[in-house]
Symmetry: C2
Subunit: 322 residues, 2 copies
Amino acid sequence: MGGDRAPDEIVAGACRAAAELGVEVLLVGDPERIGDAGGLAVLAASEVIEMHDDPAAAVRTKRDSSLVRAAEVVRDGHAGAMVSAGNTGAAMVSALLRMGRIKGVNRPAIATPIPVPGSTPTVVLDAGANAECSPAWLVQFAQMGSAFARQRFGIPEPRVGLLSIGEEPSKGTSLVKETHQLLAAGAAGPEVCFVGNVEGRDVMSDAVDVVVTDGFTGNVVLKTIEGSMRFAMRAVLGALDSDEATKAAGEVLLPALLPLVTELDADTYGGAMLLGVKGVCVISHGSSSARAIVNAIRVARDAIDADLVGRLAASTGSAVEA
Amino acid sequence: MGGDRAPDEIVAGACRAAAELGVEVLLVGDPERIGDAGGLAVLAASEVIEMHDDPAAAVRTKRDSSLVRAAEVVRDGHAGAMVSAGNTGAAMVSALLRMGRIKGVNRPAIATPIPVPGSTPTVVLDAGANAECSPAWLVQFAQMGSAFARQRFGIPEPRVGLLSIGEEPSKGTSLVKETHQLLAAGAAGPEVCFVGNVEGRDVMSDAVDVVVTDGFTGNVVLKTIEGSMRFAMRAVLGALDSDEATKAAGEVLLPALLPLVTELDADTYGGAMLLGVKGVCVISHGSSSARAIVNAIRVARDAIDADLVGRLAASTGSAVEA
């Protein structure tokens, strides 16, 4: 029920996913507002957590909201994953409170893939779940991010970088310096290939596969990239549109530019994943189209099939409770 | 003597600035490596702080380096400003230790203008001088950033935003939340027009004129924008180059794209400014061309003419010591 284009685009995407991917999709929300569910099952939920609601308060008070109910059906084993395009914070809090943390995981983190055309995406985590972090949490993010990049993008040995303001271990905040020491000393274990500090300019490059940072910095990085790309696209399209000659040239160029636009489009990537909870939780962006929802459901299906939660538990040296 | 293209491009830029702007330029460095100084005066300095040198250690041990000597001539009143394309940290430390802080300023900050085509640039500070900050320092950055945006870009009432991960005052780290409270309560005084929290996507927009943040986050933002823009440019140029038809279209488009490239080029903006020291210190980027140096010298000249240091002292409620 959440998100800018709910429920129509969400329902349309769910129907397409059921048909194209052959997965069973359960819609959670207000049956009246959903309307024609295209044959999908609907679990009624009378409340909606709005985009502007305070996440923690909303999850506490709106117990019959679609977000909370969706997390509960995963907890109860009636669904393998939840997918939401609603309030990100509330999706996270619902998943955390209803599914619970994987044993031994300090804090779940949001992992967001950043497109790198010509290469696999770079996974940035934490992208906003925890504004303030400790070095031990960041070490776990390195473990979970590695396991996720392996599962999601098939990278056999993901290169893990620590986001800082210089390559030298002496650069950055005390959080970064302490985390660097831990990772360099192998605190994340042999499965994590730590390549040292990386900088903001490396995120959209193929220099690194996983970028570990606190949720404040990670969220600022994502939104900065979003703003820069929006700006660049608008500037290029503006230049194409300046006169008759450039318009004609633009028509020739569009087919060459289109794959790039598609590759950069958040819809292509199916959104972010909350890592560290006892269930699969995919968070698609608020303006998700039906296509974004199909991709988000595909990502969720793949995570279930590959036992992502079990892999995350193993990566942090813990076992998932029954 | 510092920077990737020193001394040739630096000397060429200095000569052009002297001719075009009618300012007196003093070169500081190794006379032999400088060679033909084009008639400019040269102050001999036997050492060079390299790009990879540790800033604090280098300033302490290389007392006859061009960076340290340049800061000294400003301190001693023989020059009105220093301009460097060398090691940013070392330029900052030299200026701080040799010129000293403006009385009452807690910490100097690096202010970097980010181009916003169609509008005045957005000033981001701190762009890397202080990895960890206190709320009181950020309040001063708001004051100094306002005074700088007024002087440098002629914005009568610069809108000052605090970088966070949501508009709500409750979002962000404890540093951000405490700073928000102070700024919202008017702690920066009537000269600062605080517009609340802003996000990464607002930096390259005309939504705000000054973005206040700690030096870690600020540096990550700058490098993320740099990486995104480099990536976008390369992608567009790659599309233009894909076959004969797009190459022809590209030739039509280049004149329309060129003003954009110029406007985005760091060389156009003359680099960053260290605010809070008792002198003008312009830090141009390491790969500065002669054109970048001309612009950096113009920025320095304007700052002297407009008494930027006096304005900064007034903005923080203090007076510059004689």
